[in-house]
């Protein structure tokens, strides 16, 4: 297992946001995390990436615990993410957004930076080239010098993914990457995610509301409701699970369905 979450708990004052959550993501897998709004899915992502510290429970990545680490340390271990609301560096160029993600991979230190040695020039060139190659994968290369805020919505989402991949993660957390997309775009995105998984060798954990996409590309799905895991299994298992239907549609909704 690449990622193992065991009995994870988090309270915000009176709200028990994450309750005894168990989750497993196998290496190379494409796992979905779904549930109604407010179920705690993004909170789980925040716990994995170190934005929040859990009250109890453990998060193990490649066998080592992530609890207590700073987010940047967790990124160094190989976990990257995108955000539910896009959090790009808006006033910086598309290129710089990706270059910044190389912060821990630059392979030159502070003093050479001051002197701008030949090694620095060399590495800067490599970082730029690598960033451009990454942008090409996402069809963003032509927009490299544009400020990130000027990009259309779909392109911004792709840029976030490119930026996350620049950190060479083993595990990629995607938080509602299809939000706001039309069906055609969602189809392209589904293909893109699978391509990324194959091409970059990353494991993907995906939060999504677009059921068609989730059902079609995820190998396993975990369902959260009110902070608890209410179902886990293959798409078929989950699709027909009465508790899942109830969580999304409500009891009366299920009766009517």
């Amino acid at each position: 297992m690449l990622l193992e979450i065991r009995d994870l708990n988090l309270r915000f004052g009176g709200l028990h946001a994450v309750r005894n959550v168990n989750l497993q993501v196998p290496e190379g897998g494409l796992v979905g995390l779904i549930g109604p709004n407010g179920a705690g899915k993004t909170t789980v992502f925040n716990l994995i990436t170190g934005v929040y510290q859990p009250d109890s429970g453990d998060i193990r990545f490649r066998g080592r615990s992530l609890v207590g680490l700073l987010p940047s340390q967790i990124v160094a271990r190989g976990v990257a993410r995108t955000f539910q609301t896009i959090r790009l560096f808006r006033d910086l160029t598309v290129l710089d957004n990706v270059r910044i993600a190389h912060y821990q991979r630059a392979r030159y230190g502070l003093w050479p930076a001051f002197l701008r040695t030949a090694r620095v020039l060399d590495r800067e060139q490599q970082i730029t080239e690598r960033s451009m190659r990454l942008l090409e994968v996402f069809d963003l290369a032509d927009l490299a010098l544009e400020p990130a805020r000027s990009l259309p919505y779909g392109a911004q989402r792709k840029l976030e993914m490119a930026r996350a991949l620049a950190t060479t993660p083993r595990l990629l957390l995607l938080d509602e990457p299809a939000a706001g997309m039309n069906p055609a775009e969602v189809g392209q995105l589904a293909e893109l995610i699978q391509n990324i998984r194959d091409r970059f060798g990353v494991t993907v954990l995906l939060i999504e509301h677009q059921m068609k996409m989730v059902m079609s590309i995820c190998e396993r799905i975990t369902v959260l409701d009110f902070g608890q895991v209410i179902a886990e299994g293959t798409p078929e298992d989950v699709r027909n699970n009465p508790r899942v239907l109830e969580a999304y549609l409500g009891r009366r909704g299920v009766a009517m369905a």
Binding site: F12, T42, F83
Partner: protein, 293 residues
Amino acid sequence: MEFWLQQTLNALQLGSIYALIALGYTMVYGILRLINFAHGDIFMVGAFIGLAAALSLRLPMVPTLLLTMAATALLGVLIERLAYKPLRNAPRVSAVITALGVGIFLEHFVLATVGAEPRAFPALIAAHRFDLPGGLTMSSVQLLIIGVSVLLMMALDWFIRGTLTGMAMRAISWDRSVVPLMGISVDRIISLTFALGSGLAAAGGVLFGQAYPIIDAYMGILIGWKAFIAAVVGGIGNVRGAMLGGYILGVTEIYVAAVLPSTYRDFVAFTLLLLLLVFRPTGVLGRVQAQKV
């Protein structure tokens, strides 16, 4: 023990003045997210307006106070309309720099018109000493300052919590864009906020002139920054927090000055406040803003 109780009275006096000024900072911040760096200088101008009123009109305390508060309130509204309103949608730092500029302008305008010599503020009430239980004495000035301040603060608190306009002020501090949709004129409320804040600062100025009767054009700087820190300590944006913060600062300063040489006064006070902020960044009564990621 008696010594400390006596010092506490001094602390309450100083704290009252800080609280009055801190209220202006906190209300403007709550409603505009702007640190009005000119506010300390508005306090100073209020003191000078009070001085002018006392010297030329020779009215007793209450009319002088009310007149000064009204005049300074008007000044506050004027500054808001001319300097801050155009920048309401500009980057926040531009507004902050403008505020600094307005402050510098006020300081030097007073300097240019009134002169650099510190001025003596005439006493507006008869000096009495009241004997209190426990061997304490309280001067009439102390009573005046603490009494008037508490009265004004209670009035403000009632206004903010009990009236519709006060509610509108609080609503704007939560969400400015929604309020106009409910038929409330945001501009009017903002002007009112500045008027209230400036008026209270002016009251602080006049009372200050009674307690520490030497005033000069630069006095607003240090006192302004201290009052600002008091507002932050109490939790900036929180009206009751500003009141509390003012007294916390007053107590800290007086107690420190009672034990250490006067040159340490500011140093220790600022250090203690720095420590408080490191351990409780949102201040005593501030709301902890949970960030949504």
